[in-house]
Amino acid sequence: MGLLSKKDAKLITDPLTDNNPITIQVLGICSALAITAELKASIVMSVSVLFVLGLGNVVISLMRNIIPSKIRIIVQLIVVATLVIIVDLVLKAFAYELSKTLSVFVGLIITNCIIMGRFEAFALGNGPWKSFLDGVGNSLGYAVILIIVGFFRELLGSGTLLGIQVLGDPIEKTGLYAFGYENNGFMLLSPMALIVVGLIIWVQRSRNQALIEEN
């Protein structure tokens, strides 16, 4: 870690596990779950959030001393909205099909609580470099959960990963399907995302007892 001091590195690694934005801080669930039926959409969403949060944290951190605290929410919203418009236009220009799949959920990055939450909790009180690391760390923590959920839902739901059939061909009955395996279409429906996240939380908290909540 030549580039990063130990404290800085912690900013990135902490949100990946013990301070994960989704499973521990309960932020950013809103737009996360609806688009995880496919791995590709999850990855694109993660990258978009990485861009918005990383850059937004820097911008807010640079402006933190000149924003009057009364109107800070509106200022933050404008910053996020601007960045999200950039993401939206870029997606529309270079990945039109995908931006149709994501539909309004790109716009909903604006109200993704991770972003506002990190602005409020971190960027308003820390320098730009640290805020950048915090933004990157938190969006990576977000990405980890999204990608795990997307992986399982696409694999079990349609037998593909990134659109490639990994379990054999369901029509030709090759691979696993030769043994009578069937895709579980239920995994593609939205409620399963919630249940998968619930199970991830279960696994995570069983492994780290300190995270268990009081009743």
């Binding site: 929410i73 539909s103 919630l194 939380i201």
Partner: protein
């Protein structure tokens, strides 16, 4: 009739929480007690009922392609729809501020119990989501926009009320320690969402189903039509799978 259909559709079938996962953050954070949940739910209904029609007007007369034509024929080519995120969120932030002032004035106890979550309604995805879905589903009139806003708000209210009641009771059950709190809430919400999916057939009975789906498809915009439909082996497409795809389409 149109209004009634949209109203029930937005409450049950397109329920904000169970079908589109909007407003999840406050849904999970404020659902520990029924009384607070009711307060926040009421605030969401009110804010949605105000912002959706307001944003409909903005969309219709300012943002859409050709919307500026009332200024004169030379403005007919302007398309400001790329500004809609900023315009919508600004309207919402202003309205939330207003609600905050009103609640503080008339019900200080509610104001105290809602605490930090009132300003956070501004970043409640359900509010912006309501406006964005209103835009992408091309709701045709101001009255319908109001119906849609109120309906979605009530749907969200019902969801948070139900989960808060369940969470109050579940405190007396022996949940596995690692699932306590957040984990079990997620799983219960998932099960409730599966339950709400059964409302999918409510507006469409028997033979009318295909016809209904068609009108729905024309109503909803291209986004939904073109959104990825699961490719299904047509040879062994069972009725169940067909229903599942239909539900998925409507949800997208």
């Amino acid at each position: 009739m149109e209004h009634l259909e949209l109203f029930f559709k937005s409450i049950f079938i397109d329920n904000m929480v169970f079908a589109t996962f909007l407003g999840m953050c406050s849904y999970l954070a404020v659902s520990k007690k029924v009384t607070t949940a009711v307060g926040l739910g009421a605030a969401v209904i009110f804010v949605l009922a105000v912002t959706v029609p307001l944003n409909w007007l903005l969309d219709q007369y300012l943002l859409q392609e050709g919307a500026l034509v009332w200024l004169g024929p030379e403005y007919a080519d302007y398309d400001l729809s790329f500004l809609s995120f900023i315009m919508f969120i600004a309207t919402i932030a202003t309205m939330v501020q207003l609600v905050e002032i009103i609640v503080e004035k008339f019900s200080p106890s509610l104001y105290n119990s809602l605490g930090i979550f009132l300003p956070l309604i501004a970043v409640n995805c359900a509010i912006l989501g309501g406006s964005l879905f209103m835009q992408s589903r091309e709701i045709p009139s101001l009255g319908l926009a109001l119906t849609y806003g109120v309906g979605s708000g009530i749907g969200w209210f019902l969801a948070i009320l139900a989960i808060a009641a369940i969470r109050e009771k579940i405190r007396y059950s022996s949940v596995p320690p690692a699932l306590r709190g957040l984990g079990i809430t997620f799983i219960i919400t998932g099960l409730m969402a599966i339950g709400f999916m059964s409302f999918g057939g409510m507006l469409t009975g028997g033979d009318e189903e295909t016809k209904e789906k068609n009108t729905e498809a024309t109503l909803s915009n291209n986004l939904e039509k073109e959104s990825k439909v699961i490719t299904i082996d047509t040879a062994k497409k069972s009725e169940h799978e067909e229903v599942a795809v239909n539900i998925k389409e409507t949800q997208n």
